[in-house]
Amino acid sequence: MQFDNVNSSIKEKESGRTGGMEMTDSRPAIRVEALEKTYGKTRALRGLDLTVDEGTIVGVLGPNGAGKTTMVRILATLLRPDAGRAEVAGFDVVAQPDQVRTRIGLTGQYAAVDELLTGRENLELVAKLSHLARAQARRRATQLLERFDLVEATSQPAGTYSGGMRRRLDLAASLVAAPSILFLDEPTTGLDPRSRLAMWEVIRELVAEGTTVLLTTQYLEEADRLADRIAVMDGGQVIASGTAEALKARVGGERLELSIAPGSDLQPALRAAQPFGRGPAQIDKDAGRLTLPIAGGAALLPSIVRGLDAAGVHLADLAVRQPTLDDVFLALTGQATTDHTGEEAA
């Protein structure tokens, strides 16, 4: 069963990882080409391309309305595309949906469990509908309830579960038939920070066991922490993809961020700092903040501080920071992520 081959799976995964994106010998678990979908007048997907290698986790990052859920629904055979191709586990989602369905698990934005059935009954129902034998279904349910820390709630109706427990049960349900490919559509939206961390832990374990995961999220941090590769989606297309590091490098390296009293004159600070920059500075006068791309990092800090001091600048704050995925998103789409405040709060 799934959990007996954890070690070998991890080994295979690590060897796969070292190959990184050059890994060409394995067939991609998910391949999407020029996918199109229109609802009425809204073009939800416009020529979406995406490849996910086996045993990796790809994070699809994008604001509401970017087309993430539409993409997942097509890949999970719930929706037919208008044009383009999508293959999951080597099978075409339109021509061979039954083949796809025996190999995937889906956890949507809302926990899709029957709230009057108990945790066990929910899992056994999914097992039955996945055509597992009765004894197998029971064993599998027990295994998953233990794994997802739901043993105490086994015989309680899912309606009495907390939000985090329901999501875990939902995720467990999508794993009943031991799918090789898992779709997680915003799996932590609406969860409290602790439940979110627990969810991340479980997702990492699944990938370590060899499951391929396609995860959509609005949370930059989530993509950054979990994904091997990130695809940034906007307007029904992937507008950038790569590792988190590669994406961050695209918007330039480190940046110097200095603050003085809000509303004060930033010109002296700008004149002192500019020689260290490798690009134009951004100035936010109301906030009294200056941001400057620099090359050389923290090693430059002493010289910068001396220069600022000599110019008589009274610093409120000074830092060298790495670009975040937020910077990436801003640079790529010209807008901050819609859920930025939520992310900060979490």
């Binding site: 889906l106 899709a112 066991e209």
Partner: protein, 274 residues
């Protein structure tokens, strides 16, 4: 590296095709069972289907019944056939509410992401509704006996009456499922259901003899399916001569299935691929 864990036999396309028929049955039953378990977990669901008929029993038996002349039997006996049909109609239309709930909660998406028979989501709901009808009929009949219902038909007539009621319920559950899939919004589904149920029960022979109704209305009432079913069930349980009415009632039910099942299938495709 595929995550093959030996949970499935090798799933070639031919093998899947071969299994499909068996799965259509077992998947439908699994989904029906899930819906039926809910009856015991949430008795208020049964109460919702039986409360209206029970209120009607009390209202008509004790408030209006005394003023209604139904000829040679007691009013309680006359009334119950109409109440049975009303019970079946309400219980069966509630299938639409259930479908709307499952669409909304994402459960139907979950089922559809599994390798189940396409039709199982709907057929499971219809089968479960059939069984629910048995439950609600028993409850309402018991209330009927308490208020003086003393049926005269023999066992054979009772079996025939139950068969007719369940067949009518089967037909109306397709109407319910269609409404649920087309309307989708839970409250709107309930509203449509209510708007269907009240005119059809009042404008029938369920509660009063039709002889006193004015011309055009009487023609409508005499020919609408609910009246056919009520008259046939009434004749069976009260040991009146049944005549061809029972066959007419059955034919109406089958015609409703023939009309609504294709619409339901179409609406299912439409509701689930948006």
């Amino acid at each position: 590296m595929m995550n093959t864990l030996g949970l499935h036999p090798p799933a070639s396309s031919a093998w899947l095709r071969g299994r499909r028929f068996a799965w259509t049955v077992t998947d439908s039953l699994a989904i029906a069972r899930r819906i039926l378990v809910r009856i015991f977990r949430s008795p208020e669901e049964l109460a919702a289907s039986t409360s209206t008929p029970i209120i009607f029993v009390l209202l008509f038996r004790y408030v209006f019944g005394g003023a209604i002349n139904v000829g040679h039997t007691g009013y309680a006996n006359y009334l119950m056939a109409g109440i049975f049909v009303q019970t079946v109609a309400i219980t069966s239309l509630a299938a639409g509410t259930g479908v709307a709930q499952d669409l909304h909660s994402g459960l139907i998406d979950r089922f559809r992401s599994l390798p189940i028979a396409r039709s199982a989501v709907i057929s499971g709901r219809v089968v479960a509704t059939l069984v629910r009808n048995v439950f609600t009929l028993v409850i309402v009949a018991a209330v009927g006996v308490v208020v003086g219902f003393r049926p005269e038909g023999g066992a054979g007539a009772w079996v025939a009456a139950l068969g007719l009621l369940l067949l009518f319920g089967f037909a109306i559950s397709w109407v319910g499922v269609t409404v649920g899939l087309l309307v989708r919004n839970l409250e709107a589904v309930q509203n449509v259901t209510m708007t269907l149920i009240f005119p059809l029960t009042f404008l029938s022979s369920a509660f009063v003899p039709t002889q006193t109704m004015p011309g055009l209305l009487r023609i409508f009432v005499a020919h609408q399916p609910m009246t056919q079913v009520v008259d046939a069930v009434r004749a069976l349980v009260l040991a009146y001569p049944v005549g061809p009415g029972a066959w007419l009632a059955a034919a109406w039910s089958l015609a409703i299935v023939a009309a609504f099942a294709p619409i339901a299938v179409y609406a299912y495709g439409r509701a689930t691929t948006r």
